[in-house]
Symmetry: C2
Subunit: 371 residues, 2 copies
Amino acid sequence: MGVRAFGNRTPSFLPHRSHGVGGWQKCYYAKGMRFLDACLRKKVDTTPVWFMRQAGRYMAEYRKLRAKHTILQLCDTPEAAAEVTLQPIRAFGMDAAILFADILLIVRPMGLKLKFVAGEGPVISPPLRTARDVARLRRFHPEEGMGAVLGAIRLIRKELDGKTPLIGFAGAPFTVASYMIEGGPSKDYRNTKAMMHGAPKLWKKLMTVLSDNTADYLKAQVDAGAQAIQLFDSWVGALSQTDFEKYVKPYSAKIIKAVQRKGVPVIHFGTGTTPFLKSFADTGGDVVGVDWRPPLDVARKIIPAKQAIQGNLDPVHLLLPRPTLKPLVRDVIRRAEGKRGHIFNLGHGIIKETDPETVRAVVDWVHDWTS
Amino acid sequence: MGVRAFGNRTPSFLPHRSHGVGGWQKCYYAKGMRFLDACLRKKVDTTPVWFMRQAGRYMAEYRKLRAKHTILQLCDTPEAAAEVTLQPIRAFGMDAAILFADILLIVRPMGLKLKFVAGEGPVISPPLRTARDVARLRRFHPEEGMGAVLGAIRLIRKELDGKTPLIGFAGAPFTVASYMIEGGPSKDYRNTKAMMHGAPKLWKKLMTVLSDNTADYLKAQVDAGAQAIQLFDSWVGALSQTDFEKYVKPYSAKIIKAVQRKGVPVIHFGTGTTPFLKSFADTGGDVVGVDWRPPLDVARKIIPAKQAIQGNLDPVHLLLPRPTLKPLVRDVIRRAEGKRGHIFNLGHGIIKETDPETVRAVVDWVHDWTS
């Protein structure tokens, strides 16, 4: 993997790459350094920690904003998205900020409608079923199609002022395609699997246009200032290993490679990936995000040594009383076998009923126990 | 594992165990023999095939009955349950019949209320949350608490007349406990995991009373005539490997052993078990049922040689046009690496939109390709 420059716009708090690894000083171990170094499996002072969905409904500050705006309004207003992104950083001091956005925003500039229905989740219309539906999908220019998100990234970077690095993200093409085809969340992905197996050329066409758009969008995120990228393949665990390898892996691999060429680390995350974890890791990425199912020491043996690991506390465990939670957090740290190449996170997003004080406690425990 | 007698009531079509393995003749290869022999990894003429939820809504005959009766009415009326059990056998000639019942029936004689709400699934009340809730749970005598199911088994055996063997079943204690604690289906099993970790003694008490009742119930099923037993741990894949091993495995193991002592083969099935498949297999059972995620040849390397494998076509694939489906079925057969110790099945239950003619086609393909 080796050292790479951090994008075209070297973040102000990072030493210029010509300093070399050896020249990086202890004093550079600002929180930002810690996270980005861990992505590249470099030595860090303390295990970095952030949480998927760390900006969200468990925070009173977020709920206050959401009472006045829809999710899409927050995503479409750079100032609001920036504010939400920063809320958990200000409150709990995670080692990385993650852009507030939604993996499905990308379907809009491709020509589909997106709304969020309370209690139901996202609804995409019309759902893609035929060759004509897929042929209509548009390639788009990120600054035109996703301008608000890119604007938010620029604002967030300014606000963070080099103190905490910013993770950009997109949905992986399988997960986004599944929403496009099913028209919303699905229990069994029947239409998605029907296209995959029943119309493999159509599937290829859909995955290609989706991957190309996603790669462009992520590269634009890096240009706007994202210092790392996470590719979310949240529902890929519905697939068999053979389906993953044949119908998904090549497309995700291409996106990951395109983003890495921009010089930022890429985290490849999915839930339910343990059945094909080696293959999932081989898809690429500097960091493999694992859910709560495999013990980290077991996952570490499967994931190639050159890749870092992110995870993997069960998000449900954050609902436990803190004395009960404590040994479970400690177990994750213990199984990570040292702080090189481990980024502490959950196995999936924070649940909205989580007590913010528990989030604070976990950040502090991880920092305390690993420094 | 070795040969065991088939229950106290040796089915009429089976040779008495004293005939020994060598004495069993080719002419015994009635469909029943085929399935039961495959459970014990003995040589068979053709790979046996049956489907989880083979008696159900995809069949017009079933829908006709359901239009007049609730699920619970069907379960509570031995004649109706027997009729539903036999419908797919008459129509498609699977190699085993599986009792029509529900894994949650057991909560009623334990003192809880059960109903099925259209669109929502099962609702159990009151949900178990406190020590008092658990203390109230009753041990029950199967003939009193589950008399209708046992009556159905006796009727079915009479109707099948030794031509097709009958599989009895129960829910594994984790899956049933999760319904009892959550009060119905759950996305993240938050209350179940909270009890597991936050009140481990209470969890132990619940799992103990549930396992004891389940073992008694299954032994009574064997006494009534069930010739094999499947233990369904449908939702165990929500757990991490460590949680499975600590909080679930010992209880399921105890049930499996108790049933095996009755002399019938036990199939241990779960979905999402690939992350801890070795551990799941080591829980016991003559047959390990796997979902569609692991290729069967990969699963075969993980599951100890003494155990047979059941699976593992993706149920969603049955919705495909038959020419598209055919190579997918062939792939399962190919990866099963020969017909010894493989029982063809789906990775989970038949989806209600499945075309009955597709079910017929798969039964025929499996029989044709392996004989």
